[in-house]
């Protein structure tokens, strides 16, 4: 039982360490979007992200964030109508915002032109630390040891005999 507790503690610490380390790979999507064309990039998201969209030239874009199932459906049908995007920003030229509370997994960032003209764009997605998708499981792994320690301390305190003034008998 003690081995299991120490194992969970070790796993929890490892997860916490990894959740606060910045990823070496940058998430970005850029270039030009032609009319009747989808530009997509698939990235693994493990927590909150900061999205920065800049559209150059005279144009604007529609930006969608799709989960893996919807992205697979998009590649299969080439149609966004049936998709249920996690985030959709229509007719955008400049956009900066935080996106949070989405489950960990593979996501597709999809861009199409909003008008019938070519649009040059640059999208940067930055992972915000700590990455909650890893940090929260780490906390969950730490809970058994934390609970055990608290119960051990409280058991020790409650077991110590005290008089009516709250002083220990020793």
């Amino acid at each position: 039982m003690k081995r299991l507790r120490i194992t969970l503690l070790g796993i929890g610490i490892a997860l916490l360490i990894f959740s606060v380390l910045p990823a070496t790979q940058i998430m970005s999507l850029g270039g030009t979007a032609e009319p009747q064309e989808y530009r997509t990039a698939f990235y693994t998201i493990t927590g909150d992200i900061y999205i920065d969209i800049n559209v150059s030239h005279n144009g604007s874009i529609n930006f969608y964030l799709l989960n893996y199932e919807d992205a697979v459906e998009l590649v299969k049908t080439m149609n966004l109508d049936t998709a249920n995007p996690v985030l959709s920003i229509m007719n955008v030229t400049i956009y900066q915002n935080y996106l949070g509370l989405i489950p960990t997994g593979l996501y597709a960032f999809v861009v199409e032109t909003a008008m019938n003209t070519t649009a040059g764009f640059d999208i940067d997605m930055i992972r915000v630390l700590p990455q909650w998708g890893i940090f929260l499981p780490g906390i969950i792994f730490l809970l058994p040891e934390l609970g055990f320690t608290i119960s051990k301390i409280s058991h020790k305190v409650l077991k110590t005999p005290t008089n009516s003034l709250g002083e220990t008998s020793e």
Partner: protein
């Protein structure tokens, strides 16, 4: 049946004496952390697709190729995770074998163990087989957990089985070489230094040499490089050949160790 129960009792005894906590538990945490670095280095890379609705007319295999690319991303991520842990294990295994085998011979605890009605063969096998199984299973499971977290739903069972076997053969080969050094040297310090030097030579030669030798010394780097080429199925011959060489050499190493240990003066 009694031999098996004796072996199990010996394993239980070793588990509570030679492998005292929290060493093994923190080793699992370390393996989990390093596998995370490896898996994320591959899984966090992008898969970019540029298409328009009329693409399907000109390129009907787009969907199949896309699914294949996603599956390959999962496979490369798993191997990258195992590779990352393997680089650490090459230097951790000498310490493992030094403290469980060479140190026990040096301080006489192995002599005390075999003074009980325990066969020498069982005593050595417990100290060799348990770490191989433990390190192999931890490495594979930790990498698989990260692939499951980063790329849920991306599964290639056949390849995962292949990676599982490859992990065990590679770790078994490295561990048996180090345990041979430990038995021959009978000193923990010599065993650690010898294993370290051998680990550095292994990784350097694996990086520089041709495919079959590289597959024996550092199979995961070779596998990652094979998986990145377009017709990667052809490269699997080198990996399977190196696996067979590793298994053959491991069997020879184990037999040699058992023979040396049976004749060794440890008292």
């Amino acid at each position: 049946m009694s031999r098996l129960s004796d072996f199990k009792a010996l394993l239980r005894f070793e588990f509570s004496t030679s492998y005292r906590q929290p060493g093994l538990e923190f080793l699992v945490a370390l393996i989990l952390l390093f596998s995370a670095f490896g898996v994320s280095s591959s899984a966090f890379q992008s898969l970019s697709v540029r298409f328009s609705p009329d693409f399907l007319v000109h390129y009907p295999d787009l969907f199949a190729d896309f699914l294949s690319a996603v599956k390959r991303l999962g496979v490369v991520s798993l191997v990258a995770g195992i590779k990352s842990v393997y680089y650490i294990l090459v230097f951790l295994i000498p310490m493992f074998s030094a403290f469980t085998i060479a140190s026990s011979i040096e301080n006489g605890s192995l002599a005390a163990l075999i003074s009980y009605p325990v066969s020498r063969r069982s005593a050595l096998l417990v100290r060799v087989l348990f770490p191989i199984v433990f390190l192999g299973a931890s490495t594979f499971i930790c990498s698989l957990i990260w692939v499951g977290i980063f790329l849920p739903g991306v599964i290639d069972l056949g390849f995962y089985l292949f990676a599982f076997v490859l992990t065990f053969t590679a770790i078994m080969f490295i561990f048996l070489i180090n345990s041979l050094i430990a038995i021959l040297s009978k000193r923990a310090s010599v065993s650690v230094v010898g294993g370290f030097v051998l680990g550095m030579v292994f990784l350097q030669l694996g990086y520089m040499s041709d495919t079959t030798l590289a597959g024996v010394l550092d199979p995961f780097t070779l596998l990652v490089s094979i998986l990145t080429i377009s017709n990667y199925e052809l490269g699997f011959f080198d990996i399977i050949a190196s696996m067979c060489i590793q298994v053959s050499l491991s069997i020879i190493l184990l037999v040699v160790q058992l023979k040396i240990f049976n004749r060794m003066e440890v008292l």
